[in-house]
């Protein structure tokens, strides 16, 4: 087994981001789409912390705090909208949410 280097962490971050993107594209459940966007943000945080370790500074870690805060806000508003849609349509399937479709 190889000792983990910068490339290993970045590749892992890229794999997790691609899985999150696949989840947003493939799933129709609005909750799982939200979770997959969280997975993409987590992959970003891993890349930021790897960059922080490459430079030997803590700036990347501080940026990852900001990413966490924005993820929390996004999660709160996204969940509120999901709850509203569920009350309105009684489903979490995005296939049913087509009132904006002309």
């Amino acid at each position: 087994m190889m000792t983990p280097s910068t490339e290993h962490y970045l590749v892992l971050s890229g794999i997790l981001f691609s899985i999150g993107l696949l989840g947003v594209l493939l799933r129709r459940n609005i909750l799982i789409m939200l979770l997959c966007s969280e997975l993409m943000l987590n992959a970003t945080i891993l890349a930021l912390i790897t960059a922080s370790a490459v430079h030997g500074e803590t700036d990347g870690q501080i940026t990852s705090f900001f990413v966490m805060a924005i993820a929390a806000v996004e999660m709160t508003i996204g969940l509120a909208i999901a709850v509203l849609l569920f009350k309105e349509k009684n489903t979490v399937d995005t296939k049913e949410m087509r009132s904006l479709q002309g």
């Binding site: 190889m2 983990p4 280097s5 910068t6 490339e7 962490y9 590749v11 892992l12 890229g14 794999i15 997790l16 981001f17 691609s18 899985i19 696949l22 594209l25 493939l26 799933r27 129709r28 459940n29 909750l31 799982i32 979770l35 997959c36 997975l39 987590n42 945080i45 891993l46 912390i49 922080s52 370790a53 490459v54 430079h55 030997g56 500074e57 803590t58 700036d59 870690q61 501080i62 990852s64 705090f65 900001f66 966490m68 805060a69 924005i70 993820a71 929390a72 806000v73 999660m75 709160t76 508003i77 969940l79 509120a80 909208i81 999901a82 709850v83 509203l84 569920f86 979490v92 399937d93």
Partner: protein, 166 residues
């Protein structure tokens, strides 16, 4: 030791992330995401970002994900299951899979060929992170509190019932 930890926990992280794709119930997908986050926290510790690892577990996995879990359980949103199959036109399925896998292969090829400098010990102790945060990053830090306040207002005004509708 560090090598073994990296391979074990990165494997678990990727596997449980893939499990999110195929989970039929939102609760199981959320618990898989929690497992991914815990494994990522181990990797942050391997990168010497101790404070980020702890904050990631307490705030992100502990607070945000549990909020999500409460909403799923109390709102009844998780009662309906949507399997991944039979819900798509084959064209959409094909295009989405090709897009995601192309990104994955491209990222793996680009990153594994690149020559990055080796990892250093960026000791992310509370002292170092706090000094940097409250000296160089104080303005973004204050702005992010305003953003969180706006998020609270937005969530309240979205879910509040209008008074005259009662």
């Amino acid at each position: 030791m560090e090598t073994a930890f990296f391979w074990i926990f990165s494997t678990i992280a990727v596997l449980s992330a893939i499990n999110i794709l195929f989970a039929t119930r939102p609760t199981r997908a959320l618990l898989s995401l929690l497992l991914t986050m815990l494994c990522l926290a181990v990797l942050y510790t391997l990168l010497h970002a101790y404070f980020v690892a702890i904050v990631h577990i307490i705030v992100y996995a502990g607070a945000v994900m549990v909020l999500f879990l409460f909403i799923i359980m109390l709102g009844g949103l998780g009662a309906t299951t949507l399997p991944i199959q039979k819900r798509f036109s084959p064209l959409h399925l094909f295009l989405a899979t090709v897009t995601g896998l192309t990104l994955m292969v491209a990222v793996i090829r680009i990153f594994s060929k690149a020559n990055y400098p080796p990892l250093q010990d960026a000791m992310g102790t509370v002292e170092r992170v706090g000094k940097n945060l409250f000296s160089n990053y104080i303005v973004p830090f204050e702005l992010i509190t305003v953003l969180i306040l706006l998020g609270i207002f937005a969530a309240i005004s979205l879910t509040r019932k209008p008074k005259d509708a009662e």
